[in-house]
């Protein structure tokens, strides 16, 4: 016992070695509130030789981002098409190809179609990217890899785990948006420096769309057919009919409200507003509020579902 104790005492390193000077007796010393690492504590905590400690909430979430980054460094190529190339192909096909047949008119604010569609395609791409990342990968954490259960067996909590997932999506979508913005610049798609604001707007819309899907993932127990339905019947129509390619004024008034409740439309309006202008302050605030409320509400819901599934 003394041997093992000494070995592990050495291994625990800095903070705890002070107390483990008496390793031979750690097995029996029992309750002392004095672990060198944690300092004076009022509670009756049994003496420790462990190297583990609790980290702060933001730090814990960031450690999750670190883990995602480790994965991403190995596998980023596999997501190159969906998050990087696809929006660019769309921009080439719709903005340049199809756009060459579209006359600048009132609907495009008197601008070439590529200027009209570029900010919207960024938002649409970001949203799809975030929804993809929030569906099967999150379900896998619960169901297939089950690594979420491994994480919440550590000091990291279910809420911090969710926070890390959201931050990761912000970063990942952010990277994709920056790449898209640069390529679109080569296409001459941007009119002014307002394009710089399109990136955070795209990320914001993406989070507002991704987090509700995380909540869905946390309540999904089957093989995830649900997601296939969501992609087909919710995401695709949302991208097609939220003003990405044409103004929603062209949609019959009876169903136009469907565009108004689409987060993609709110994101698209904002993105066009900062590059093309023509968006008033109040409508802009309204769009931001819609996305903010959606993100906040669904984050609270997702947090609840994460706890319900992981802490049972």
């Amino acid at each position: 016992m003394a041997n093992g104790g000494t070995a592990s005492g050495g291994a625990t390193g800095s903070g705890t070695t002070g107390t483990t000077g008496t390793t031979g007796t750690t097995g029996t010393t029992g309750t002392t509130g004095t672990t060198g690492a944690t300092g004076a504590t009022a509670r009756v905590e049994i003496g420790s030789r462990s190297a583990g400690r609790v980290v702060g909430s933001w730090r814990a979430a960031w450690l999750r981002v670190e883990a995602h980054w480790t994965w991403y460094r190995r596998y980023w190529r596999s997501s190159l098409y969906s998050s990087g190339l696809q929006p660019v192909l769309f921009l080439a096909a719709m903005g340049l190809g199809f756009g060459s047949q579209v006359e600048a008119g009132p609907a495009t604010g008197g601008l070439a179609y590529v200027h009209y569609v570029a900010p919207a395609l960024l938002v649409a791409g970001a949203v799809q990217n975030a929804i993809g990342e929030s569906s099967y990968p999150v379900l896998s954490g619960f169901k297939w890899q089950q690594d979420y259960y491994a994480v919440t067996a550590t000091p990291v909590t279910a809420g911090q785990l969710l926070g890390g997932q959201i931050i990761w999506i912000v970063l990942r979508v952010g990277i994709a948006c920056v790449v898209y913005t640069l390529v679109a610049l080569l296409f001459g798609a941007w009119l002014n420096a307002g394009a710089l604001l399109v990136v955070p707007i795209g990320v914001f819309a993406a989070v507002a769309c991704g987090v509700p899907i995380m909540a869905v993932a946390a309540t999904t127990y089957n093989e995830g057919e649900r997601f296939a339905a969501i992609f087909r019947f919710l995401v695709m129509p949302m991208i097609l009919f939220s003003g990405t390619f044409f103004p929603i004024e062209q949609i019959p008034a009876a169903v136009r409200w469907l565009a108004w409740i689409s987060p993609v439309w709110h994101g698209t309006e904002l993105a066009r507003g900062v590059t093309l202008g023509g968006l008033g302050g109040w409508p802009a605030l309204g769009h931001l509020a819609f996305l903010g409320v959606l993100a906040g509400f669904s984050a609270a819901l997702a947090r609840r579902y994460f706890y319900r599934r992981l802490v049972v």
Binding site: M1, T32, G52, R53
Partner: protein, 317 residues
Amino acid sequence: MNGEAAAPMVGAPMVEAKALVKRFGDVEAVRGIDVQVRTGEAFGFLGPNGAGKSSTMRMIASTSPRSDGDLRVLGMDPDVDGPRIRARLGSVPQQDTLDTELTLRQNLQIYGRYFGMSRADVRRKATELMEFAQLSERADGLVDALSGGMKRRLTIARSLVNDPDLLLLDEPTTGLDPQARHMLWDRLFRLKAGGVTLIITSHYMDEVEQLCDRLVVMDDGRIVAEGSPSELIARYSTREVLELRFAPGEQGGIAARVAEFGERVEELPDRVLVYTGDGERALEQVHGRDVRPVSSLVRRSTLEDVFLRLTGRTLVD
């Protein structure tokens, strides 16, 4: 064999449960159990599937809130100090929950970071643990390519990354071949020798008999017996057991005919067990009564017999 007498308890136990209850909706998985686990001991929960072992383990691991009763782990309340407790625990869940798309090394390093360890510390620790688990050669390969036994060893290595004070192992060897099981046992012995307190659940009685100083036998959410393996066997069983097997259809009525040769007789679907201090003598007597089994076996009593005595059922059906 067990060091109970040698290690007098000072202060609070590692784990202390009083009238601990876990409910899932209407189902009561754990029905008010009292348990104390002392510092430095290897403690076992033995019982069949569905006995409430894993639910108890998850409550101790502070990943599952208790429904009723009182629980202290490392002297703290999991409802209040969950993260603080978990910082000092090692946990080997039933499922490996490894990240199969990453390397072994990455799995260990990432996990260590969750315990607030520095990059340098987790790097050193990962190397050390892969050595311990005899996985060093695979260190930079993907987890996906590992065999079941290797994954299990990695999961155990991962649980040690923070030098835990208390290591929880939920069915650590289920699904492993005998060789892999013995290797795992060896690693667990070393940890115990190093002063780590172990709590093990299992439905393999030989595993618990080998590894545990003390155990509780659980059945249907309750504790039905508690003690060291040898104590339990002495209390609930005889020194030896005579097993008699018969040709199909010929077992009927045998139990009554041989009952007088043992302290107790159990009839299982495929054999008759005679509990006695002297198995060979009982076998002679059985033969003298002109009972002709197809085969017979005299063995020592095990925890399986204890469980059979207490519940009327075998551990693994």
